[in-house]
Every structure is written in structure tokens, then in C-alpha cells.
């Protein structure tokens, strides 16, 4: 869709705003409807919009499949890590109240980290799925990636 002037200009204007909205949903889980899963989907879909309009291979150069994979794993690790830290501090798995000095402080910190892990993983999986669906065409570009990378 490179030659589509309207779509290109509007996408350039809207994508940063959508990305910021995703982060807003991520960090305001306590106040309104929202949280990690929705934020991840919005973030991922903004990136997919970019890939649709500027081409999947350009999107792959912005966030390489390796980075996407590693970050998706980091999200899960963060989630599991919070749980394990809770065990190490003498609580149950994912028992947030032992994470900080006060119970409410611990709960805030725990939920914040867990939600962040969920959001990160969901966003990266969305992007990864987009990469899978779009496949890889060596004729378009050659930036050294392999079809199985996505």
C-alpha cells in the first residue's frame, strides 16, 4: 500500500497515538477497564497497521523477529519470576503481599509487574502471528532473515 497517499499519511499520524493509548490502557488497569491483555492487543494492532501499510518486511526491520521472540519470552519470565520471588520471600506462588514491606504496596507492585508481563507477551505474540501470516518473500527484500524466524 506504499502508493496509497491517504493511508500512509494518516497511518503516520495515528500510529504513535495508538501506541500511547495502548500504554495508557496498560498502566491504568487499576482505574478503568483495561490491563495487560487489552493493552497488548492494542499495541500489537498498531504495529500490525504499520506492517499492513508499509509492508511486513519494513515492519520486520523495525522489530526483528528475534527481538519479538525474546521479548515474548521475557514477558512470561517476568510473570513466573514474580511468582517465584513470592515463594522465596516465604509466601505462596504469586502471593503479592509478601513482595514489599506493606501488604498493599506488595499487591500494587505484584499486579503491576504481572500485568506488564502479560501485556508484553500478548503484544509480541500478536506481532509474531502477523509475521507468520505474512510469510517471507526473498524476492521482496533480503535482510538476512529466514522464513522460520518469525
Amino acid at each position: 500500500m506504499r502508493h496509497h497517499l491517504v493511508l500512509r499519511v494518516i497511518a503516520k499520524l495515528l500510529i504513535p497515538l495508538i501506541l500511547l493509548f495502548a500504554l495508557y490502557v496498560q498502566f491504568h488497569g487499576d482505574f478503568g477497564p483495561g490491563g495487560g491483555f487489552q493493552a497488548g492487543v492494542i499495541f500489537g494492532s498498531a504495529f500490525i497497521l504499520y506492517g499492513l501499510i508499509f509492508g511486513a518486511n519494513t515492519a520486520r526491520r523495525v522489530a526483528t523477529p528475534e527481538v519479538v521472540r525474546v521479548l515474548a519470552a521475557c514477558g512470561v519470565l517476568l510473570y513466573a519470576g514474580v511468582g517465584v520471588v513470592a515463594i522465596l520471600r516465604g509466601g505462596n506462588y504469586l502471593q503479592y503481599r509478601v513482595l514489599a514491606a506493606t501488604a498493599t504496596g506488595g499487591e500494587h507492585l505484584g499486579i503491576f509487574l504481572i500485568e506488564f508481563g502479560v501485556g508484553l507477551t500478548v503484544a509480541m505474540i500478536m506481532i509474531g502471528l502477523f509475521y507468520c501470516f505474512t510469510g517471507y518473500r526473498p524476492s521482496d527484500h533480503n535482510n538476512g532473515t529466514h522464513p522460520h524466524d518469525a
Partner: protein, 101 residues
């Protein structure tokens, strides 16, 4: 004062509803794709605008109004873009517009 605001808000909601339904009827009645685009844009502009304006008047200066304005601004950017993309794709897909000469 509150009564006046309420009244204006109800008028906005009702006329917005009227334009939304009119757009829907047009979408069903009009003869070909390109004319239907115009009908859809009636709902997308004035219908949506009036309904959201009516809701804004209900909540006054508050967080909710800000969100409504953001929804409205986003729709005013995205709906013509989508309509333009559709029209361009239809033309490119060899859909011949029904034109009166």
C-alpha cells in the same frame, strides 16, 4: 440551566438517532456501491457527531467528555480514510460506478 442542557442533549441524541437510521436506510436503498458510500458517511459524520455531542452535554466538563472528544476525533480521521481506501480498492477492482450522463 440544567434543564436547558438536558433538553439540548436530548435533541442531539434524537436527531443523531434520526441521521443514523437515515444512513442505514440509504445503505439499503441506494443502487450501487459508490452511492452507498455516501449513505454510510451520513451515519459516520452527523449521526455519530450528534449522538456523541449529546452524551458530552450529559457529562459536562469531565474526563468522560474528553474521551468522547477523542473518539469523535479518531472517527473523523479514520472513517473517511477507510471510505477512501474502499472506494479506491473498488475502482481498482474494476467495479464500474453507475453514472448518470
Amino acid at each position: 440551566m440544567q434543564l436547558l442542557l438536558d433538553a439540548i442533549s436530548w435533541i442531539c441524541l434524537l436527531s443523531g438517532g434520526f441521521f443514523v437510521v437515515a444512513g442505514g436506510i440509504g445503505l439499503l436503498r441506494f443502487p450501487d456501491f459508490f452511492t452507498r458510500l455516501h449513505a454510510a458517511s451520513v451515519t459516520d459524520t452527523l449521526g455519530t457527531g450528534l449522538i456523541l455531542l449529546g452524551l458530552m452535554l450529559q457529562s459536562g466538563f469531565s474526563q468522560a467528555s474528553v474521551k468522547l472528544i477523542l473518539i469523535l476525533v479518531f472517527l473523523f480521521f479514520s472513517s473517511p480514510t477507510a471510505a477512501h481506501a474502499l472506494a479506491k480498492a473498488a475502482l481498482h477492482g474494476k467495479l464500474v460506478p453507475f453514472v448518470k450522463r
